[in-house]
Symmetry: C2
Subunit: 201 residues, 2 copies
DNA sequence: GTCTATAATTAGATAGAC
DNA sequence: GTCTATCTAATTATAGAC
C-alpha cells in the first residue's frame, strides 16, 4: 500500500538519483559533491545520507538507473524487429544504441570515468550490469555469418561503444571544435547510420 | 646558460608535470589533488604552487605535454610515409593514432573529462591545441577521393577517436569484462588494423 | 521524512624557515 | 629551490530538532 508519505519518499529518492546521475556524469565521482546533488534535487545534503547510506551507494543507484533505461529502451526497440533480416537487424540495433548514447550521454561518461581505474565501483559495475548485458547481446551482434571470434567481439564492442558515443559525450567540445551540434536530430541520425554501416557494411 | 640549479629546477618541473598528467587522467581534474601529485613526483605540495601558480596552470602544462607527444610521434611517423599511396597512407595514419592511444591512454581520458563541460579548460584546450591540429590533419584524412564533406569529417573524427581509444582508456574494465588485455602487443596491432580498415575499406 | 547544525577530513593556496 | 606549517574553504557523514 502506498501512503502519501511513501509516495513523497519515492519522489524525493527519484529526484536525488536523477540529480546524482547528472552530477556524476558531469564532474566524475570525486568531483561531484553531495551538496551539489542535493541542490540540483531541490533538497538538502542531510537527506542524501538518510535515503542512501553513502555517496558510494548513491552512485550505484545512479548507475542502476541509467543501465535500467538502456535495457528498457534497447529491449523494446529490438523486440519490434524480430523478423527483420539479420544484417539490417544488427544495423538497427547499432542505430538504437547510438540514439540512446545521444539521448543519455551520461552512460558513456560514467563508463569512462569508472572504467579507467580498478576501484570497487568499476568491479561492481562490470559484475552487476556490464557482463550480463555483454554476454546476452554481443554473441547475437557477432552472429556466425560475421566470422568474429570471441576476441574480435571484444574489439568490436569497444569500437561500437567509442565510435557511437564519443561525439555526444563531448558535445560542448564538438561544437567549439567543428561547429557541428551533436544535439540536433539530423546529426544524431547521420551518426547512427554512419556507425551502423561502418560496422555492418 | 644552464647552471646546476636550473637543471634540477627543470627536472623537478618535469617530474611534477608527468605526475600531474597521470593523476589528472586517472582521477579527473577535480578528483586529482595537488598533494597526491606532489607525492607521485616525490616532492611536496608547496613546490607545485611555486613552479606553477595554480592547479589550473599545472593542468595546462600537463595538457601541453601530452599534445606535444602526440604531435611529435604522429608527425615523425607520417613524415616517413610521404610517398605511400593515399589510401594506405590514411590507414597507416589511423594505425599510428591507435598505437599512440594505446601507449598514452591519458590523452583520451583528459579529452573526455574536459570535453563534456564548457569550462575554461575545455575552451583553452580546443582553441590552443585541438583546432589547429584538427584543421591541419583532418582535411588530408578526408581527401577528395573519400567524398566526405565538412560535416561528415566531424563525424569521422569522433568515430576514429572513440573507436581507436576507448578500449585502451578503460583497460581495467576491458580486462574484467572480456578477458582481453588491451596492453598486449597483438591486441594493440589487431585493434589498430581493425579501426584502420573499418574507416578506409 | 525533512531540515539545520556540526564534527572530522581534506582541499588549494600562502608564509616563512632553510 | 625546497620543505614544513598554516589559513580558509569545501568535503562526507552524523546528530538532533521538528
Amino acid at each position: 500500500m502506498t501512503t502519501r508519505r511513501a509516495e513523497q519518499r519515492d519522489a524525493t529518492r527519484e529526484r536525488i538519483v536523477e540529480a546524482a546521475l547528472e552530477a556524476f556524469a558531469e564532474k566524475g565521482f570525486r568531483g561531484a559533491s553531495t551538496r551539489d546533488i542535493a541542490n540540483r534535487a531541490g533538497t538538502n545534503q542531510g537527506l542524501i545520507t538518510y535515503h542512501f547510506q553513502s555517496k558510494d551507494a548513491l552512485w550505484r543507484a545512479a548507475a542502476d538507473r541509467i543501465i535500467g533505461l538502456l535495457q528498457k529502451e534497447l529491449g523494446e526497440h529490438l523486440a519490434g524487429l524480430e523478423f527483420a533480416n539479420p544484417r539490417e537487424r544488427r544495423r538497427e540495433a547499432i542505430r538504437a544504441y547510438v540514439r540512446f548514447a545521444a539521448a543519455h550521454p551520461e552512460l558513456f561518461r560514467l563508463m569512462v570515468d569508472e572504467g579507467k581505474n580498478s576501484e570497487e565501483r568499476m568491479k561492481w559495475l562490470v559484475d552487476t550490469h556490464l557482463k550480463p548485458m555483454y554476454e546476452r547481446f554481443m554473441p547475437e551482434a557477432g552472429a556466425s555469418d560475421t566470422g568474429l571470434d570471441a576476441s574480435m567481439l571484444a574489439h568490436a564492442y569497444y569500437v561500437m561503444a567509442g565510435a557511437g558515443s564519443l561525439i555526444f559525450a563531448v558535445a560542448p567540445e564538438c561544437r567549439r571544435l567543428t561547429g557541428l551540434d551533436p544535439a540536433t536530430r539530423t546529426t544524431i541520425e547521420t551518426h547512427a547510420d554512419f556507425v551502423a554501416r561502418l560496422l555492418v557494411p
